[in-house]
């Protein structure tokens, strides 16, 4: 049954290859952003009461810089996702019909494409970028001792949580994409989704910096699993039990949101009014 999604997996990977120059430009911009963030955090720590060696919300400046660098690399490799835009285009141009007349699930098509894209991004950019980041941060003494076998278990869990994060991101993008059936416009929905995810996933700021009430609420939401948790797993800030719990929570959210997406789609599909005739 899954074999029929193979062409979409391949297409996702091939598209990523095709846009590798775009992605390179994007990489340069991202490096500049990281540099800014690093200097920003250095300034924050220097001017704090405890000075450069202060521990703010459980983070030393070394950990904070590692966190910023790694979340940026993570976001760059993991969230290469066109699902929302592609659904929006399918609805606007009526090309959704081309998929509805085929014996495949519309959701499955996007999941396969995103997975293909994730695999290609990880091979092309993920492996070299993570290796470089870990080597540099490690040699500067910014990371705890990255020795085997303890780190190995964390690395494995990190890869698993990265896969979960990518799937979850695709599920959320798909849900917002399906909402385009109702709004007929993806622009606002995309901004809403991007903002929500960037803020609540801890990409901008670790969730430890949030006020207590909000932090509690966000910790049971799916978003932390999309950025903060995988990175804290990799940095070994979470022990193995915490790591497993975090991955399990994300997996549970994927199941729940997929079910919701299925219901939403079967309602939205009644709204389809393919233009012409």
């Amino acid at each position: 049954m899954l074999k029929k999604y193979k062409p979409f997996l391949r297409a996702g990977a091939m598209d990523t290859m095709a846009y590798r120059f775009n992605i390179l430009v994007w990489a340069v911009i991202t490096v500049c952003q990281v540099a800014c963030l690093v200097f920003l955090w250095l300034a924050v720590y220097r001017s704090s009461e405890g000075g450069i060696d202060a521990v703010i919300h459980g983070f030393t400046y070394r950990e904070m810089i590692s966190y910023v660098v790694l979340t940026t690399v993570f976001g760059f490799v993991t969230f290469n996702n066109d699902t929302l835009w592609n659904i929006n285009t399918d609805i606007k141009k009526g090309t959704i019909g081309n998929y509805l007349i085929k014996p495949i699930s519309y959701r499955g098509k996007f999941a396969a494409t995103s997975l293909g894209s994730l695999l290609m991004m990880t091979l092309m950019f993920g492996v070299p970028l993570y290796t470089a980041a870990l080597a540099v941060l490690g040699s500067l003494g910014f990371l705890p001792d990255l020795t085997f076998p303890a780190f190995f278990a964390h690395l494995a869990l990190f890869l698993l949580s990265g896969l979960c994060a990518s799937l979850l991101n695709d599920t959320i993008a798909y849900i917002f994409g399906v909402l385009c059936f109702y709004t007929s416009s993806g622009w606002g929905l995309n901004s809403l989704k991007e903002t929500l995810v960037a803020f609540l996933s801890g990409t901008l700021l670790p969730l430890a910096f949030f006020p207590a009430g909000l932090r509690e609420a966000v910790s049971i939401m799916p978003f932390a699993g999309m950025s903060q948790n995988p990175i804290l797993i990799l940095m070994m800030k979470y022990d193995l039990a915490e790591s497993l719990r975090a991955v399990a929570l994300t997996a549970a959210w994927i199941v729940a949101l997929e079910l919701f997406a299925k219901l939403l789609f079967s309602h939205a599909i009644r709204k389809v009014t393919v233009q012409g005739g």
Binding site: K4, P7, I101, G276, G277
Partner: protein
């Protein structure tokens, strides 16, 4: 087999005011207008039949097709494709039907045509042997082998349409829905497409539902037509019966000497309508009421015809007449 029962599709369209003030108003109060695109139609298509689904623009043809292949959900009524409801079990139905929308391509635009077929092979899980056999068959009847390695965007409209047809048939569907497959094609391509549909129907017993505005398509292909107007079926039956409804109408076009005119010519019978077109006389009559032989004699003897052409009423004329009658009835009611 296709079974359609009391099928209705109502679209809700927001009524928008005109101009800027109208647009602002619709932001706050939205009124909807209901459009009954398809209005309680029922029909059955047995296996192996080629049905022409015809009617003017906006009659609801495409809407019906989209409901039959599971893209649109009916407002009420039911559709069964080989016993399965397409809007409930879309994927299951999709495995056994093929669809072509003449206005849109379903091929992947930037990749060579052959790659599109390979993708379809995987999506439909077509076994290798079947795939090779179908490609050989389609390559021959649709003549697509020559441009298989070209990206779809470089194909001419005629080539693209043949490719689209081949793509819709690659998985050996039991039922084929063709929504205006000959639109914008030249005569030769149209001919090829018709031959391919015939070959497919004969070789594999594929059921075909076809919408078109080209009456030659209908006369060449369809044993049965369903005529749709404003969402309702106004005729469903064999092509020959539709013509008979208007009697055995024939027209004789005569080349006559310059001094013979419609108004002054001797009259044979009130059954024969005489008119003048481009300096020729045109006689229209029902051959069941007045023998053709008698009219021909009259034409040569009384009208001194030098040449003549005998034609049956075309299906185009029939459809036009029915639609005009419908319009007139509507006008009377209003």
């Amino acid at each position: 087999m296709i079974e359609v029962k009391d099928l209705t599709k109502v679209f809700r369209k927001p009524i928008r005011g005109s101009g800027l003030s109208g647009m602002v108003k619709t932001l706050f109060s939205r009124k909807y207008e209901e459009v009954r695109a398809v209005d309680g139609i029922s029909f059955t298509v047995p296996d192996g039949e080629i049905v022409g689904y015809i009617g003017p623009n906006g009659a609801g043809k495409s809407t019906t097709i989209k409901m039959m292949c599971g893209i649109l959900t009916p407002t009420s009524g039911s559709i069964l494709i080989d016993g399965t409801e397409p809007c409930r079990k879309r994927q299951q139905v999709a495995q056994h039907i093929g669809v072509v929308f003449g206005q849109k391509t379903q091929l992947w635009w930037d990749i060579p045509l052959i790659e599109s077929f390979k993708v379809l092979k995987e999506i439909y899980q077509i076994p290798d042997a079947d795939y090779r056999e179908r490609m050989a068959f389609l390559g021959e009847v649709l003549d697509i082998t020559r441009f298989l390695s070209q990206p779809v965007r470089t194909l001419s409209l005629g080539e693209r349409m043949r490719a689209d047809l081949a793509a819709s048939m690659i998985h050996n569907p039991r039922i084929l829905f063709l929504d205006e497959p000959t639109i914008g094609m030249d005569v030769l391509v149209k001919e090829k497409i018709r031959l391919a549909i015939h070959a497919l129907n004969r070789t594999y017993g594929t059921t075909v539902v076809l919408t078109t505005h080209d009456m030659t398509d209908i006369e060449d292909l369809c044993s049965r037509i369903i005529l749709l107007e404003k969402g309702k079926i106004i005729y469903d039956g064999p092509l020959t019966d539709l013509k008979k409804r208007f009697g055995n109408i024939k027209t004789l076009t005569l080349t006559v000497p310059a001094e013979v005119h419609a108004g002054t010519a001797p009259v044979l019978s009130p059954e024969v309508a005489v008119s003048e077109e481009d300096g020729r006389l045109v006689l229209r009559f029902d051959a069941d009421r007045i023998p053709l032989e008698q009219v021909v004699q009259y034409a040569f003897r009384d009208l001194r015809a030098m040449d003549m052409k005998i034609a049956e009423i075309s299906i185009g004329d029939v459809v036009k007449t029915i639609l005009e009658q419908q319009e007139a009835e509507h006008a009377e009611k209003v």
